[in-house]
Symmetry: C2
Subunit: 344 residues, 2 copies
């Protein structure tokens, strides 16, 4: 827990770089009473700062020489680009100068640097990327959304523990309903990995495990946390995003298919905009990588300034609530179960 | 290839049973010049037949005593319910009295009876359920959609071969663009299963393999066949269906949120209905289980008569085109690659 969170922001990350990240960060610092460290090319960051009002905003620039390209391998970035903004930002957390990192850059690099530079909380086997998605009711958290592609049952189990802590603190759910993503509702449905994870989740301390969840349950809003391995989670999140975008495009086509629908669309324009905003993933800012000694939040490459502000705000809340403390506690409380599953 | 296909229809299957299946089947027989065998409780089937015009329709009733319940295990149904309509229907195919089976009943039972009663085509390791889904352009086939939850790389490889044959014959694609579902576009992205399958698909004869496809690519219409294991496929298909339904519900809410949007909705009603029909999975009828000595088509439990008609029509086309011949050929042409992968 820290009263005055310091968030290191990868100023060079994302499709639009400092021009979007810097105003988003400054806005977050002002609106949510945070201290932001803008990590990147000093002159480029200053160019953007010069366009903004900076009174009463707590910020510093931390210079970083190198830039990461999207086609580089995370392991190469980690080994060879010691002065890339994402590496410098993660080192700030390790050294205690910041509490967390937010980046819209190369997501694989953010995950790798978070894991290997910050390190894992005691007892955590694999940090998990947690995607927050809109539903018909309240948002749902899906984890792991892509940090771990080959998982064992006890990894899924720990994703459940971490997802629970996150949903309580960050989404304010008193007792998050947790579902294990599978291909049938009944116990015993699923692949071998899921069947074993089911047993563990059932035995966990203080989890509101409601059993298997199917793909069709994710968006009804009847489950708060959905557990899966990083391969399944990444496919699920990207499929959902892609489908939502395709449907919006198809809908726009339908509404321009003739004069009557076009007039209808005009009348419903405001409502339609609200609909698109509801399903816009950018509203949630980014996906936190849970289980680190610190915090890394992965944002969409195409994040706008509002998405950056929201992600940084989430980082601040995470620190103020002391979510890592809660997370470490629940991991510890279930340590024996994890160890038992590892040994079989 | 058979000029006059005979399709055995599970008259008792689905949420609505004979009241929907029988008219759907009779319609398919009339419209698509097929012979249908209505398998189920004779008196219940006759009750429905009495409501219909039957001149010039080729049909027969095949009596089946038992009914399958949705909570029964497929293996139990297979062992204990020898006179269930789905078992009787599959035996008709094995005995040569029918070419394929269509059922909206217990999908696990249909898959199990198809596999174990009809048996697999020579060389086929695992039959695969093939879901046909609408996209922004032409439909996409996703397989396996749930028949095999724990897969090896050569299973995925064969799913590709079978999906290719299906997409050529049934969807009319001259050279189906095939994508391997993964978590990044670049070669080398994915879990260990996918990475190995990638190598096999790259080396296959006569496949238009375009590399990895991400979840977000499924609905753009830029890939024709998507390959994945049955766990991932089932989650993907159900997530997509669920999200589409949720979005339609959210949209309806938005359009009734005030007088202007409501008026807009009224004007765009026809266009909106067309949109909903475009994304309605029932339009494609059902998901064929490919790789059998024969054919089984799995329909949604909530299928209406039109969906049943469409699924039975697909069965007829499958038989007339001799798709199983093409499928067996491509499996045979790639036999060495499969065997090599099995041995490592």
């Amino acid at each position: 827990m820290r009263e005055n969170p310091v968030i290191a922001v990868d100023a060079m990350g994302g499709d639009f770089g400092p021009s979007v990240v810097v105003p988003g960060a400054i806005n977050a610092a002002r609106l949510h009473d945070l201290h932001v460290l803008l990590v990147g090319d000093t002159s480029k960051v200053e160019t953007e700062l010069n366009k903004l009002k900076l009174d009463n905003v707590r910020y510093d620039i931390v210079h970083a020489e190198e830039v990461v390209h999207m086609n580089e391998k995370p392991s190469d970035i980690l080994r060879r680009k010691k002065n890339a903004s994402i590496q410098v930002a993660c080192r700030l957390v390790r050294e205690g100068a910041a509490d967390g990192v937010v980046s819209a850059g190369h997501s694989g690099a953010t995950v790798a640097c978070g894991m290997f530079i910050m390190g894992r909380l005691p007892g955590v086997e694999r940090p998990a990327l947690s995607a927050i998605m809109p539903t018909e009711k309240d948002p749902v958290v899906v984890l792991d959304a892509g940090a771990n592609v080959d998982c064992r049952p006890y990894h899924l189990f720990q994703f459940g523990l971490m997802g629970d802590a996150f949903a309580r603190d960050l989404l304010g759910y008193a007792s998050p309903r947790m579902g294990l993503l599978s291909i049938g509702e009944e116990e015993g449905k699923g692949n071998s990995q899921v069947k074993e994870a089911y047993e563990l989740l059932k035995m966990a301390h203080n989890l509101n495990f409601i059993g298997n969840a199917e793909g069709r349950d994710i968006f009804t809003g009847n489950v708060d946390v959905v557990i899966c391995d990083g391969f399944v989670g990444n496919v699920t999140v990207k499929t959902s995003e892609g489908l939502a975008m395709s449907l919006v495009r198809m809908l726009k086509k339908v509404f321009t298919s003739g004069p009557l629908p076009a007039l209808g669309a005009l009348l419903a324009k405001g409502a339609f905009k609200r609909f698109v905003r509801t399903i816009d993933y950018a509203e949630y800012g980014g996906a936190p990588l849970l289980g680190l000694k610190g915090l890394a939040i992965v944002c969409h490459g195409r994040s706008n300034a509002t998405a950056m502000t929201n992600a940084i705000k989430m980082g601040g809340t995470f620190v103020r609530k002391g979510t890592n403390g809660r997370l470490a506690e629940t991991i510890l409380a279930n340590e024996e179960l994890t160890r038992f599953s590892r040994s079989v």
